[in-house]
Chain length 190, copies 2
């Protein structure tokens, strides 16, 4: 998606080979016009499939996921990051480890909002090792639902997430795939 | 806003006199069509004013704030809830206490995204005692910016937030003002 790649090149900043700062338009300050275009791009790519819910993880995925859900006329479900396990029967949880941050959290969703037979479109801002996406997959399995598509705003294609998810048969669509980066350059795949 | 009041009456659930569960359409599962209408209602009400940024607090305010920012053609800034103080010069922080939850957090924004002269429209999902809104006011003061309008999706009008904020001269516009509630009824003001 050219509009997104242009924003990354103009406003993004690679701190090092692994960390890309996009907080001026994606995850702290948000360019909502760009997020609307991002949502429409996801809706167009996945238009042949019939989903029942759009799912994202709080909080940076919410803006692009909201515009995707609007374009597809579907409800949006925001999965929560809890710091501890909740022991009630109406909640589904799985532990997600973040390798970049060295932390973990309990990915949490109420059973009411991820039901047996649900066909989920997962939208997230970043894909790196894919741990968060696998967390959503585990919760979908627990619920008797399926993840039928994954839309990613920015993919770190030099990390393993894309390959691990497609190896599971998943349809992963990333709007900007970064091949490599450093303080001096950002190079896209394709 | 009738569409919102209808959703509260049909899908909301008052757990007791203080806690309203709206997680099926506002803060866990999100009715994005309703949120778009909410954003347009805020944009219409505040159309006579000239803002520079729409601000919200992660994460339940993001969806309505994103649609408001889109309608007003403004950038959205998502203030973060940090658990500890960050000691770098490019960050503004203030402690916000949540009386309902008995917890506190450090409301955080990068100086780049709240600048001297900024005229802020604050959008949030709930207004109760107003602590979060006063946190945004304090950060705006630190930045040399002003909060020129506050748009609230659901106001607990039986709590002090609305009166405390209007006493400061602030323009507070709530789309649904709850006068009182219990397990058996929800009553709106007006």
């Amino acid at each position: 998606m050219q509009m997104l790649k242009d924003a990354i090149l103009e406003k993004g900043r690679a701190i090092n080979q692994d960390v890309l700062l996009v907080d001026s338009f994606l995850n702290h300050q948000v360019d909502v016009g760009l997020m609307k275009a991002v949502g429409e791009a996801f809706a167009e790519h996945f238009s042949g499939k019939r989903f029942t819910r759009v799912v994202t993880i709080e909080s940076s995925g919410i803006a692009p996921a909201a515009f995707t859900a609007l374009s597809l006329n579907l409800p949006l479900v925001i999965m929560k990051k809890q710091t501890s396990r909740i022991l009630t029967g109406d909640i589904l949880q799985t532990t997600v480890r973040s390798f970049t941050k060295g932390t973990s959290y309990e990915l949490t969703v109420k059973r009411d909002f991820l039901e047996p037979g649900d066909r989920v479109l997962l939208i997230d801002d970043f894909l790196a090792s894919g741990e968060a996406a696998f967390g959503v997959l585990h919760l979908a399995q627990q619920a008797g639902a399926t993840v039928d598509g994954i839309g990613i705003v920015i993919e770190k294609a030099f990390q393993s997430g894309h390959d691990r998810l497609t190896a599971e048969g998943l349809d992963v669509y990333s709007l900007a795939r970064i091949k490599s980066m450093s303080e001096r350059h950002i190079e896209f795949l394709d």
